[in-house]
Amino acid sequence: MTELTRRTAAELAALMAAGETSAVEVAQAHLDRIAAVDGRIEAFLHTDPEGVLEQARAVDARRAAGEELGPLAGVPIAHKDVFTTRDMPTTAGSKILEGWRPPYDATVTARLRAAGLVILGKTNLDEFAMGSSTENSAYGPTRNPWDTSRIPGGSSGGSSAAVAAYEAPLATGTDTGGSIRQPASVTGIVGAKPTYGGSSRYGLIAFASSLDTPGPFARTVLDAALLHEAFSGHDPMDATSIDRPVPPVVEAARRAEIAGLRVGVVREFAGDGYQAGVTARFDEAVELLESLGAKVVEVSCPHFEYALPAYYLIAPSECSSNLARFDAMRYGLRIGDDGSRSAEEVMALTRAEGFGPEVKRRIMLGTYALSSGYYDAYYGKAQQVRTLITRDFEAAFEQVDVLVSPTTPTTAFPIGERADDPMAMYLADLCTIPSNLAGNAAISVPCGLADEDGLPVGLQIMAPPLADDRVYRVAAAVERALESRWNGPLLAKAPEL
């Protein structure tokens, strides 16, 4: 039998349902894998083997009792450490929350539990999900399983690395400007950003509230769809949550049929700054879509070039306010309370000590963009750009059903390369940001390896809000065609750890 850790979530679920293995066995296999490789990957910030086995035993007991279980019951999952968990610490990758144990579960956490998923632990991330490399974690970087000297993407780099390194078949992530799609792309796995409001933000430690979107990581499109359905859907605790049925993403992933579909290639996402190997794989993917019966046209989204600047005003503005609550008064770190200092001084000392450089940069930038005298010129203008980008999408989606682009302009870059060059780092999100600004559905699916470095390249597929099923349908078609061309998944080409 194939090693349990190499199995997809759907396969594991089927094996368990058939009684061929148990949740405990599956959990143990993944715990063993984590013990064997995570020293080199450092995907997890927290694991609790005994707690994991306990969850697994509970699922096995429910199954033994004849309970009807969800389609992913007993499947292990790595959980991004930005969702609150009652029984595990929650740090958001920040020193300011070191050791904090939330008194409540995020909605996503609660739904994972309700679906019988076994939470292996909490994964590393850029501090407060701000970054594209996971280097901004206060707890050290996570490494890319394809090349451990390189970044696994970010901010959900712990989750992408855990899935790519077979430490977990599934993982959660959050995507504010590309934090699921870009890590999925650079680690050769699937990552989806649901429609904004399609998955609940309750218990997701906020970075930029109007952009943050929880979504799934998996090694196959079907697995991602299964996880998407497991935790998405309306949540009365999140006022921005959409009160509509979850789009039929699992059905779409199974169908994988795109004949007649109209596909738009975004003209603006090409040229300078795009690695040759990325462009080559992307062009091939477009040809593949055509060969599968899609009608491909080029479309222009003239305002997308302003998406990055608009994003780096809107996201920091919201973050400067969202992160104000970390003030040493009610929870988390407190520095310098020697009895003589005032609350104001203790707040400022704690925040200076507890936040890393990128978080401080963004807080300062956001404070600037919102401050009196600058609001109209910066935050106000960025909100107008947001309108223009949404209109570009609307115009494009009148012509085509989905848009495609490379997920990110380059393959995984070396750790440290962009660490103190914020503008270079920000370019990693160039192609992913527009969908966050417009609230679209989008996905990244592997489309090959770049010739020059042999590292994974991702294809991004974007669809209008609430048309999540469309991106899964296209991704599954691409996956099926490429895997038959490659005789297996792309990840099989990754070096053994």
Partner: protein
């Protein structure tokens, strides 16, 4: 000309409640200058008549019923507190006005 002065950066640090050292302020001032110059590009495209977008999707009127739900216990509420006293959060002395 720089987009932001060192004094402005120091003012932003105070507004943001960040006690930054001189070196950190210098470093940040240089980086913010680059970033602000770059993001200022948003000013190129926007005409006055474009409505701003604050929310990704156009939802309105989301309310919850006026129903009481269980609160945390005081122990849970205070469990994460850096300091507590008499079932209250203990905080350093507060400057400024009386609320």
């Amino acid at each position: 000309m720089s987009a932001i002065t060192r004094d402005e950066v120091a003012h932003l640090a105070r507004l943001s409640r960040l006690a930054l050292g001189e070196d950190e302020l210098d470093h940040l001032a240089a980086q913010l200058d680059v970033i602000i110059s770059a993001v200022a590009r948003v000013q190129e495209v926007t005409a006055e008549d474009i409505p701003p977008t604050s929310h990704a999707l156009p939802l309105t009127n989301v309310y919850r019923p006026d129903e009481v739900r269980p609160s945390l216990s005081p122990e849970e509420a205070l469990a994460g507190a850096p300091a507590a006293e008499d079932q209250r959060f203990r905080v350093p002395r507060i400057l400024g006005e009386e609320a």
